[in-house]
């Protein structure tokens, strides 16, 4: 055992302080990143895995059709009109699909929004790939203006066969006050 002080009580105390400091650091350098890694790996909270998807050799599986439903929700206090362009799409796994979400800022001032996705069932999250999404970036809108925000996605060919419906939900947040800061979402 390494002795850090001639006084055994001080020695014990120094070692224990080290443990306490290490546990404080543990929260930031282990618990927080580990939580995000686990959520990605398990599809919890609809966090779709990895970064922007780069399409693999896409083989369209025309033998089955998956229903993809879209849900749009405004977070508390968010005044925008925010709706999916279509409520539902029937897609083949492997095919590239495009849709839009419509956003309208009714206020006279320019605002910035951030959409946070969630996928249900959670098990489907890792098979749902977005190649392009308005949720990758903050979305600015001038006062009293509107936009169709694009979404391009591929449902993986390896999607378990018992999953027939995937629900993709977006909640839109007003981040005008935090805009400009680095925001990492997927």
């Amino acid at each position: 055992m390494i002795r850090l002080s001639a006084n055994p009580a001080i020695d014990t105390a120094i070692k224990l302080v080290t443990v306490a400091v290490a546990m404080f650091a543990f929260v930031f350098v282990v618990m927080v990143p580990l939580y995000n890694v686990l959520c990605d790996a398990l599809g919890i909270n609809g966090k779709t895995s990895g970064e922007r998807y780069t399409a693999v050799q896409a083989r369209v599986d025309e033998s089955r059709v998956v229903t993809v439903q879209f849900v749009a929700t405004n977070n508390e206090g968010m005044p925008w009109e925010f709706v999916p362009g279509v409520n539902m799409m029937k897609v083949n796994p492997g095919a590239v699909n495009d849709t839009v979400f419509y956003a309208h800022n009714p206020l006279p001032k320019a605002m910035v929004a951030q959409a946070i996705p969630s996928i249900s069932p959670a098990r489907a999250a890792q098979y749902f790939h977005k190649t392009e999404c308005f949720c990758f970036n903050q979305q600015p809108l001038d006062g009293r203006s509107e936009a169709n925000m694009p979404l391009q996605f591929i449902v993986d060919q390896d999607l378990p066969r018992d999953i027939h419906t995937i629900t993709l939900s977006y909640t839109i947040f007003d981040v005008t006050d935090m805009a400009g800061g680095a925001v990492a979402t997927r």
Binding site: A13, V17, V19, A20, V21, F24, V27, V32, A122
Partner: protein, 526 residues
Amino acid sequence: MGDHHHGPAKGLSRWLFTTNHKDIGTMYLWFSFAMFILGGAFAMIIRAELFQPGMQLIEPAFFNQMTTLHGLIMVFGAIMPSFVGLANWLIPMMIGAPDMALPRMNNWSFWILPPTFLLLASTLFMEGGAPAAGWTFYAPLSTTYAAPSVTFFIFSIHVLGLSSIMGSINIIATVMNMRAPGMTYMKMPLFVWTWLITAFLLVAVMPVLAGAVTMMLMDVHFGTSFFSAAGGGDPVLFQHVFWFFGHPEVYIIILPAFGVVSQIIPAFSRKTLFGYDSMVYATASIAFLSFIVWAHHMYTVGMPVAGELFFMYATMLIAVPTGVKVFNWVTTMWRGALTFETPMLFCIGFLILFTIGGFTGLMLSIAPADFQYHDSYFVVAHFHYVMVAGAVFSMSAAIYFWLPKWCGRMYNETMGKTHFWISFIGFNITFFPQHFVGLAGMPRRIPDYALQFADFNMMSSIGAFIYGASQILFLYNVIATIVAGKPVSDEKVWEGAEGLEWTIPTPAPYHTFETPPKIDPAHAHS
């Protein structure tokens, strides 16, 4: 060193500058009792409001502040410091040490507490009121929607965490380095063992709580988004971090209580503790398991089934070492020459009621059933059976048991027994009906409730007033004992008491064991 056998200094400076473990223990005990009264007063306000359905006395926002402060003050201000006070008084006397290993840090760990709780209580008078997100202060209630006073709350959590960590370091350093020759680890009284393990838990998890509130601070003031979905964070992360601290925390509260009961039951059974070794191993197992069960507080957040199952089985596993302990206490009493003085009554009350609380805990651990019980009054009933009937009853037992040793005066036995019976009855009237309203669907932390819960709530409130009043009797008894109790001079005080603390004169002199005692094997395990 000059005169070693000087008494305490005079006046206020004695208490401000003292490094004596007995003085500091006394201050901890009085401070925790003051907090117990304050937290109890908040509970009385809660029960008065809930006496009848409808809004009677206070505003809902203030009600939320009351539940929050009641929880925070009882956990961090009353129960934890009371056991630290007991540790200060008893650990050196039990292991044959002259004082704590780091006496000046000991002084500091105590003296940063009163200002901290003053700060916490002062938030009541701030704009927007005190924190109101519950003692678990889940984000975003405690961040996005918190009153400005949350910053003061965060600071007070930081400081009281610091105090706990310093206190624990002191206890570990004392136990590891200051034991009298011959006092091996497996000869230590069980109270010392449970505190040693508790102290390790504290050093491990108080920094995690500090981390959680630091993240809150950064989210509130520095634009980070640890718990804010808009910025890519996640409010559920808060619950994971909080309960990674919070579950060990409940064992931090109850393990020293186990230690106290393990000292007192043998004394009034006139037998040695049954299964000493298994008690030590059971305590260590509980401490280890406490780190891998935290998510049983959050079954409903949407975990994978595998996660629910893991946390469910791990939680149920804790019933095994806890069952070992309960078995050992009962077996210690088996065929003992039992007498039922006040400390023993409180221990038996503890044993019965804590076991009920343990069983409701087992019910809550069942993930599919917990979806029904979650955040209901059933949970409130459960944790008051383990916190109040567990920690507070054992603390009362400890005061009655060791107070005559400390001050050389005997408490009034009739009043003590009256205190016990009023407490026992009042406690059960308060919390037993809460099982029923909880199972019937009454949620916790609400200022108003549906009419069908009215009778049981009125019963609960009456019980709470009875229980609250019994603590005034306790206070009176303690003061009357110190001022004018019947003097005792017998070293052992109690016929069946064993252990080094009963070998020194009564009342315990200001300095003890300046030369290490010889360890008589008969005193081992006390």
